[in-house]
């Protein structure tokens, strides 16, 4: 999928409703936004200059046509910006810069995709699942959360909570696998030894520690891993150099912008 040019648009909230610990917000926008799963938007929807900076949110869904186009986000309230977002009502204005960043890559070839979302990280892997579902590709979803109530509602899962395809994991064992999502993945790999792990590709988004754990066991097994990283961001479109992470890439090693060269990186290149 090609990565399109970003735009700055003024949207209007269609709905913004909480479901457990997550909010789902749909925003009417002037024109249809095409995006690659893993891409994100910079969102600001509050008056005044405090907080000053927009907040990055993965694009969860996008649809419609000019005049009736809309994008959707899923977020969790963790601080002031997301708290302000959660207080917005249908009809309120909101500013978006999107689509931004380099999303997941789906190289052609016969393979099985394992999509891993930790916490609210499912917001960037569900779009990947939706794309794979469309292509009738083979995928499984791993969702990790601290407890059962912190898992996304089943009906948000692309293709539905199909048994065997969706693996739930909780730190406290209140639902699904009792343990981290990384542990569940390792488990799944062990059970799959026969068919050869090299035909699996992992796309993951979640807490840094989770991504690191996945990279640590999967890379030595020659499994391709793409991870979506996070960072505080000022601009989101590559002009402030505020959001970098250290990348190892031979001659070209150095600090790369998570908002521009990322947020999705090949796990082999990340300096963990």
């Amino acid at each position: 999928m090609p990565h399109g040019n970003p735009r700055f648009v003024h949207g209007k909230i269609l709905h913004n409703t909480g479901s457990g610990i997550f909010y789902r917000m749909e925003v009417a926008v002037p024109e249809r936004i095409d995006f690659v799963p893993g891409q994100f938007a910079m969102v600001s929807g509050w008056p005044g200059n405090d907080p000053l900076l927009p907040r990055p949110l993965a694009i969860f869904r996008s649809g419609g046509v000019r005049g009736k186009a809309a994008v959707e986000f899923v977020y969790k309230v963790v601080g002031r910006g997301t708290a302000l977002l959660s207080g917005l009502h249908a009809g309120d204005p909101i500013a978006l810069t999107l689509p931004l960043g380099h999303g997941f890559e789906f190289p052609a070839g016969d393979r099985s995709w394992w999509l891993v979302g930790g916490g609210v990280g499912f917001s960037s892997v569900f779009p990947a699942a939706a794309a794979l579902e469309e292509e009738r590709a083979d995928f499984e979803i791993f969702l990790g959360a601290r407890t059962r109530d912190q898992l996304p509602p089943g009906e948000w899962i692309p293709g539905g909570a199909v048994a065997g395809r969706v693996h739930l994991c909780t730190d406290d064992g209140t639902a699904g696998f009792f343990g981290t999502v990384a542990a569940a993945l390792r488990d799944r790999i062990d059970r799959r030894k026969s068919s050869g792990p090299s035909r699996v590709a992992i796309l993951a988004c979640g807490p840094h520690e989770m991504l690191k754990a996945i990279a640590e066991f999967a890379l030595p097994l020659d499994i391709r891993v793409q991870v979506s990283l996070e960072s505080s961001m000022a601009c989101g479109f590559g002009v402030c150099w505020g959001c970098v992470t250290a990348i190892r890439d031979g001659e070209k090693s150095g600090y790369r912008r998570i908002c521009k060269e990322g947020p999705v990186f090949d796990a082999r290149e990340v300096v963990w």
Partner: protein, 310 residues
């Protein structure tokens, strides 16, 4: 009744700008990143990210932190180096029809000279802006920029190696901004730009660690606007060369405040982050204000602050 389009042109020394709004260095990438949003030739000028002699990796992550109505940054001047700028970026800025200015810094005066010399090869480059005030790298010029003597030496040396218009960007972390501006003027600067960021700090009371890898960083954004405006006003009173005003400008009204106290032009920095269209919206807003207030030329407004007689 048809309204006459106001004349927004302004002169910064012998550089003629179609309007007084420029992007601020370090907040606008190399300019090209904004082309998806609008035609960058609509700006008075584009000032690119500070360039050094060699590519510079910058500081480790933990580079930005939001503060009330502002932000701290400690990027550490990550940039592609002057050579790649001259070869890869400058031609594309020219193709885009942009008036562009290079912001430069060096670890030593010799490096400043070398970068300035290399840039002088670019016929289309409108001016060189010397960053004598970056608080985020030991070598960022702040050593040169915080005393009149230091600044004078740096300015004279760079002045000697280039025929390009020379703008000197001043640090606000000083007792007497007028004296600093005068030092730049006397040493041959064609204009002064101010303010760069104010040194600030943030720590996390729980982890007990600084929020920035560099411990301190530079404060920018609306929070600093009142301080910037005061310093620009003082600089305008202190020197005869043009003063370029910068610091917390987000709206046409903010830009007008700086023009009113005497700035020849303004730069817009942090505002680009929240609204990529900020610079052009400010150009349009200034024009609309002039139409509404029946002001025909920028020069009829600029520096026309009304003070009560004492």
């Amino acid at each position: 009744m048809q309204s006459v389009t106001p004349d927004l042109t302004t002169r910064v020394g012998n550089v003629l700008l179609k309007n007084p709004v420029m992007s601020a260095s370090g907040t606008f990438g190399y300019g090209l990143e904004f082309m998806p949003f609008y035609d960058i030739s609509r700006l008075g000028a584009v000032i690119v990210k500070g360039l050094s002699l060699l590519p510079t990796p910058g500081n480790p992550p933990g580079r930005i932190v939001e503060t009330p109505a502002g932000m701290l940054n400690a990027i550490g001047l990550q940039n592609i180096g002057v050579e790649r700028f001259v070869n890869d970026v400058a031609p594309r800025l020219e193709d885009a029809g942009a008036v562009y200015v290079a912001n430069i810094y060096g670890r030593t005066i010799e490096e400043y000279e070398a970068v300035a010399r290399r840039l002088s090869d670019l016929p289309a480059l409108a001016a060189i802006e010397v960053n004598a005030s970056c608080p985020n790298v030991k070598e960022g010029g702040i050593a040169f920029g915080s005393s009149p003597e230091g600044l004078s030496g740096l300015t004279r040396r760079v002045r000697a190696v280039t025929g390009k218009p020379l703008w000197v960007k001043l640090s606000p972390n000083v007792s007497d901004i007028g004296a600093i501006a005068r030092a730049a003027e006397e040493a041959g600067a064609d204009a002064v730009t101010l303010i760069n960021t104010i040194v600030g700090m943030a720590v996390d009371p729980r982890t007990r660690r600084p929020m920035l890898s560099n411990v301190t960083g530079g404060l920018s954004g609306p929070a600093v606007k009142p301080v910037a405006l005061r310093m620009v006003w003082e600089a305008c009173k202190a020197v005869k060369i043009p003063v370029i005003g910068i610091g917390g400008i987000q709206s046409p009204g903010d830009a007008l405040e700086f023009l009113l106290v005497g700035a020849a032009a303004v730069q817009v920095g942090t505002a680009n982050f929240r609204n990529p269209n900020a610079c052009v919206e400010i150009v349009d807003g200034i024009r609309d204000f002039f139409v509404r207030e029946k002001i025909f030329r920028l020069d009829d407004y600029r520096g026309k602050l009304l003070l009560r007689e004492k």
